[in-house]
């Protein structure tokens, strides 16, 4: 599949956001200047949009194998979905004085981590589970800490955005189900990369984000299993059956629906061809001396590589790559505020000295083999130049 945005630049940052599939863009188009009614309106401008929305909902439900009686609440993004689940808890606790503890992990996305921190400030106890030496949150570690009497929610992401490492969410969800504790998973990085099936994985809440699977930015979905309590984050009109107020982003929903269908259709392509291209890139990266890749590739989503080039600081590397037309990302301190090492690095046993060397490459079904090969040349060149500047290479030229 060739890149629709073909240019000299190469985009290897799909975990940050993805190019919108041209089919999705096309599907969204009529909903701006022709089918633009507010779905809440009584007149035909409003009502004629409903059938399309229903089709989009069907696609979303089918995409994650949700039951008709479950809810997929359409919202603005995964951050909203994650906040809704975590903060809903806060409102619940305030109102009923119930269980005051939640369990999450040390490797969640900021929209979960920071919402959890906010809960801590209001008196909720939060336990942040560590990852094990493989970089994932194991069933054992959850079992060790799960106390159903006090725990109101467990939140563990399906796949990590930085490393691509996949947590054993089926086992974790089952453990929570057996213990009577609600389980939430941020599945943002999983959709379109691995099968996501809520009948296989008994999660009570699941977050999705359209712009991570070739849908538009500004729309997401929160899956809520039938019977799970949901306290709305946004109050107002009666949209989404009072679960989330605000005029639905109709073009966004239409786009997200098709994007989901395409993502699921392309799962095999993702698991075979995209994986093969990722492995090709990874092997070439590993051929560069003093280079590590975080986490076993069999435990990762098929599109992600978190590499560490000794002696090469993350932000400097991203700068050099960008100068040469390759887009990737880093969690290095220059780019973020924290000097704290990445908890996954620590757990996997990566040396402290490599704490600021992480470079994330994340491809998609739109990445070509030619782009992979050109990127390898750029990566090699950048590593060489930067190692020439950093003195760590004096010891081993």
């Amino acid at each position: 599949m060739s890149s629709p945005g073909a240019s000299d630049r190469i985009y290897l940052d799909s975990n940050a956001t993805t190019i919108v599939d041209p089919l999705v863009k096309e599907a969204m188009d009529p909903f701006h200047c022709r089918l633009y009614g507010n779905p809440n309106s009584l007149h035909t401008f409003g009502t004629e949009v409903h059938a399309y929305m229903r089709l989009a909902m069907d696609r979303l439900y089918s995409g994650i194998n949700a039951a008709e009686e479950d809810d997929i609440v359409i919202n603005s993004c995964a951050t909203e979905g994650n906040n809704t689940v975590l903060k809903g808890l806060y409102f619940q606790v305030l109102a009923s004085g119930g269980k005051k503890r939640i369990i999450t992990t040390q490797v969640e996305h900021p929209s979960v981590a920071n919402a959890a921190r906010m809960l801590e400030e209001t008196g909720v106890e939060v336990l942040y589970l560590p990852v094990d030496e493989r970089g994932i949150v194991s069933r054992d570690i959850l079992a060790e800490h799960l106390d159903p009497d006090r725990t109101a929610l467990v939140s563990v992401m399906w796949a990590n955005n930085e490393t691509g490492l996949i947590n054993p969410v089926k086992e974790l969800a089952e453990l929570c189900r057996e213990s009577g504790v609600p389980f939430h998973t941020d599945a943002v990085q999983a959709i379109g990369k691995v099968p996501v099936d809520v009948r296989e994985v008994p999660a009570d809440f699941l977050t999705i984000s359209a712009h991570k699977f070739h849908g538009p930015k500004g729309v997401g979905g929160l899956y809520v299993r039938k019977g799970s309590p949901l306290i709305p984050l946004l109050h107002g009109g009666e949209q989404m059956a009072n679960r989330r107020a605000g005029t639905v982003n109709v073009p966004g929903l239409i786009g997200m629906g098709l994007a989901m269908e395409l993502a699921v259709e392309n799962l095999e392509f993702e698991q075979t061809t995209v994986r093969r291209l990722r492995d090709r890139l990874e092997d070439a990266i590993l051929a560069i001396p003093q280079t590590t890749v975080i986490g076993d590739r069999s435990l990762r989503t098929p599109n992600t590589i978190l590499a560490s080039f000794e002696g090469v600081e993350g932000e400097a590397m991203i700068w050099d790559l960008n100068r040469n037309g390759v887009a990737a990302s880093t969690g290095s301190a220059c780019a973020s505020e924290s000097l704290e090492p990445n908890p996954t690095f620590v757990a996997i046993g990566i040396d402290d000295r490599l704490a600021h060397t992480g470079i994330r490459f994340s491809i998609s079904r739109f990445t070509t083999e030619e782009e992979i090969d050109r990127s390898v040349e750029v990566i090699r060149g950048a590593v060489e130049r930067l190692r020439g500047i950093s003195f760590t290479e004096e010891a081993s030229p």
């Binding site: 932000e315 400097a316 290095s332 220059c334 000097l339 704490a355 760590t392």
Partner: protein, 101 residues
């Protein structure tokens, strides 16, 4: 909060041309060896700051005139982001010609 704060710039948009030039083509990059010091009849001083674990480390090499204590030449090696490279380059340049004091 204000309009300009909301979109949030990237760090990089704030780098001046001078900084960018130095990042891409540092002028004082390199090492000075004991041998070079001996040949020049001067003393070699090597100083390290920072650590890779913190994301910023620099090694400065000074060629110091034995009598006047003046820095004849300065070179650097740096582990860090672009601005670290640029500022280390400027630091090495500024050192040259001054006394060790």
């Amino acid at each position: 909060m204000a309009k300009n704060d909301l979109i949030g710039g990237s760090l990089w948009e704030q780098y001046s041309n001078k900084v960018t030039e130095r990042m891409n083509d540092p002028t004082h990059l390199g090492v000075i060896t004991e041998e070079q010091a001996r040949e020049a009849g001067a003393r070699l001083v090597v100083a390290d700051w920072g650590a890779e674990a913190c994301g910023d480390a620099v090694r400065l090499y000074w060629l110091v005139d034995e009598e006047s204590d003046r820095i004849l030449d300065a070179k650097f090696k740096s582990f860090g982001c672009g601005t670290a490279i640029a500022s280390s380059d400027v630091m090495a340049e500024l050192c040259t010609g001054r006394t060790v004091d």
